[in-house]
């Protein structure tokens, strides 16, 4: 059964959890809708809440490829869609010349040979549209807000048609539509037109219960006690008005770091030593240290 035939939101939650991804109801609903209606899923949220991870889990579930397009300022179609391999084309010409073929065939034929699929370098978007058979690939368009407006408009066109035209070769239309996940960190607003194409979900930090589960799944070496303590401490720190509150990725790192140095129960020294894995800004670390660890420690020890 394909992903797109998934029967209910509960099923989405279940399938994702077998891929070690614990989705809450809201996220699962957005995933369900975008699968059923064949539309991109747009995820926004703080760094480290698991936006990219979701795409990976979806591709594992689909058992298809994960094709990732990392956006950056100045990205254009050469890096996103396709590019001709000019060096090899040149080599091809030289070979034809050396073997004396240039005298037998016309320039037109020779030029036609150059624009052959074997000289085409497929970049992520073309890759995602070239998949011929199920399972569908997952196309992750990461941090789209980093790309410029023009690229976004271009992307919108591709995402509404699921086809790409290469002047020398013709139009590529996807036979198996990719599952598209777009993430944004909100450094700028995306165009309404793009947002309208997508189902939207704002990904939040998980609550303590869910985070305990996530840590247990992602870092199996961490004991239940430690996972509980770590999640509670993280929840406390998120309420502390830090510049960069720790995300799930950081709490997992932290729990693993604690296990690595042989800690199974938080105490002042171990928190102090490993704080850098959880909190990455110096000002934040100072703020936490100056407040002292007593409060955190007494909080995490409560039933």
């Amino acid at each position: 059964m394909g992903l797109r035939d998934v029967s209910s939101v509960e099923k989405v939650i279940e399938e994702l959890s077998t891929q070690n991804y614990l989705a809450d109801r809201g996220l699962a609903t957005a995933v369900f809708l975008s699968l059923r209606q064949n539309r991109p899923l747009l995820l926004e949220g703080e760094a480290g809440v698991g936006k990219t991870e979701l795409a990976k889990s979806l591709s594992n579930w689909a058992d298809g490829d994960l094709i990732r397009l990392q956006c950056y300022e100045g990205i254009d179609s050469n890096q996103a869609v396709y590019e001709w391999d000019y060096a090899r084309q040149l080599l091809h010409l030289r070979t034809a010349e050396a073997s004396g073929r240039t005298e037998d065939v016309s320039t037109d034929v020779l030029e036609g040979e150059l624009y052959d699929e074997r000289f085409l370098i497929r970049r992520p978007l073309l890759q995602a549209l070239s998949v011929k058979n199920d399972p569908p690939p997952v196309l992750l368009i990461d941090e789209i807000d980093r790309a410029d407006d023009e690229f976004e408009a271009f992307l919108l066109e591709i995402l509404s048609e699921y086809s790409i035209t290469i002047p020398e070769l013709g139009t590529y239309r996807s036979e198996v539509k990719p599952i598209v996940v777009i993430t944004s960190n909100r450094t700028r607003d995306l165009h309404d037109a793009l947002k309208r194409r997508c189902f939207y979900h704002w990904v939040e930090h998980p609550d303590v219960e869910r985070e305990i589960e996530i840590i247990r799944i992602r870092a199996p070496k961490v004991s239940l006690l430690l996972a509980e303590e770590v999640s509670k401490a993280a929840a406390f720190l998120r309420g502390m008005d830090l510049y960069k509150p720790p995300g799930v990725a950081e709490t997992i790192d932290w729990a693993e770091a604690l296990v690595t140095i042989g800690v199974d129960d938080l105490d002042e020294d171990s928190v102090d030593e490993t704080l850098g894995t959880l909190i990455k800004y110096r000002e934040d670390q100072e703020r936490v240290r100056s407040r002292g660890f007593d409060e955190i420690l007494s909080l995490v020890r409560q039933g």
């Binding site: 939101v9 109801r25 809201g26 609903t29 957005a30 369900f32 809708l33 059923r36 209606q37 747009l42 926004e44 950056y72 300022e73 100045g74 254009d76 590019e83 001709w84 000019y86 060096a87 084309q89 040149l90 010409l93 030289r94 010349e97 240039t102 320039t107 020779l110 030029e111 150059l114 807000d145 980093r146 410029d148 407006d149 960190n185 909100r186 450094t187 700028r188 607003d189 309404d192 947002k195 309208r196 997508c198 189902f199 939207y200 979900h201 704002w202 510049y243 000002e283």
Partner: protein, 373 residues
């Protein structure tokens, strides 16, 4: 759901009413999105209020700012819990508009007659453009707004990663050179070159709208609007007791419509200032995360701050670390013998690149020149 839904038609009606209510509270919802909402509810089966809640969240809402209002409307519509009324009605009207000249106004100098400001309008442009905004009467301001729309504020440029072609012998454009060589059987006859292009630096405007800035802020918001129209990639916020993002509202071309929208969005016009907290909010939610990185930030404020000035210092330091340049325009700086005595101003000064005036049309012109260099 505590409302009984009998048949499909009733459900549709409910969905439409719900979307209408959301629109009435100012959430922008396109027709397409409301249709999507209907499809999503059908897909999920409207079995529980939770399904309807998330169907709406993923189709009708596409920015986190709207989530809390969505929650309220949802509660009131589907669960009958009404917390909405006071929230929506408490917005005080804010008047940026000076269009109706016949109206009496606090700005009007009572000693002047209609004839006087006509003469100002046509013969004394030079005097007017250097006149402090707080001394201008209504008609003079009107004239200044007109002038302001003429300001084209380009802002600074920075290197872009996108390459552009050039005739100069810079980086060899392999791709283009080879491509053109196919015409000549692979012989590179003409060499092509490329170099790094340029793009505009993002410009972020933070306008202080507290009580002490009131006279200036009413004028400066026009300036902010003019700047936004002139170019792309400008972000605008107001700083008062809270931070309000006005980028969307001010993007409308018509100044009156734009200012009307902005005034509807701002809830703390002429209130107190918590400058430090406002900048912190900007840093936390927008600036540090990317908006201010490498950008030019222009703060329009008199620096009066009722909050803790240490917060101002700390937040300005933070902001300064990620920005390309911070320019602070303070209308009070034009006063002879001005000293930055305001706590907030003194705290911010070490973290500012340019400290300029911002009290008259001329000073704004100088400001735009400064920022274009």
């Amino acid at each position: 759901m505590n409302q009984v839904i009998d048949g499909q038609k009733t459900l549709d009606r409910h969905l439409i009413d719900f979307v209408d209510q959301l629109r009435n509270t100012g959430v922008k919802i396109s027709l397409g999105s409301s249709i999507d909402f209907g499809l999503a509810v059908t897909e999920l089966g409207a079995g529980s209020s939770e399904d309807i809640y998330w169907a709406g969240r993923s189709t009708l809402i596409n920015r986190p700012e709207d989530i809390s209002i969505y929650n309220k409307v949802f509660k009131s519509h589907w669960l009958g819990i009404d917390s909405l009324v006071d929230e929506v009605n408490k917005l005080p009207a804010l008047d940026f508009l000076f269009d109706d000249l016949s109206d009496d106004s606090e700005f009007e100098d009572s000693s002047k007659s209609e004839n006087d400001f006509l003469s100002v309008k046509y013969s004394n442009l030079e005097i007017l453009s250097s006149k402090d905004f707080s001394n201008c009467n209504r008609a003079e301001l009107q004239e200044l707004f007109y002038l302001m729309n003429e300001i084209r504020f380009m802002g600074e440029r920075k290197k872009s990663r996108r390459m552009v072609k050039t005739k100069k012998h810079r980086k060899f454009d392999f791709e283009k050179s080879v491509k053109s060589s196919f015409r000549t059987s692979g012989e590179i006859v003409k060499k092509h070159f490329q170099e790094g292009g340029e793009r505009r630096r993002r410009l972020v405007l933070l306008l202080d709208i507290s009580g002490s800035m009131e006279v200036y802020a009413r004028v400066l918001i026009r300036f902010v609007h003019a700047v936004m129209l002139g170019r792309s990639d400008v972000e605008a916020f107001t700083l008062g007791t809270r931070l309000t993002r006005l980028t969307k509202e001010l993007s409308t071309r018509n100044p009156d419509a734009a200012l009307k929208r902005a005034s509807d969005a701002v809830e703390d016009w002429s209130g107190g200032t918590r400058l430090g907290e406002g900048i912190k909010e900007f840093n936390d939610h927008w600036g540090i995360r990317g908006m201010a990185r490498g950008a030019t930030v222009l703060i329009l404020s008199d620096g009066w701050d009722r909050g803790d000035s240490e917060i101002v210092a700390e937040q300005m330091k933070r902001l300064h670390r990620v920005t390309h340049r911070i320019v602070w325009a303070n209308p009070l700086k034009a006063t002879p013998d001005y000293e930055p005595l305001a706590k907030g101003m003194a705290a911010a000064l070490p973290h500012i690149d340019n400290f300029v005036e911002g009290n008259s049309f001329d000073s704004l012109k100088d400001l735009s020149i400064l920022l274009t260099k």
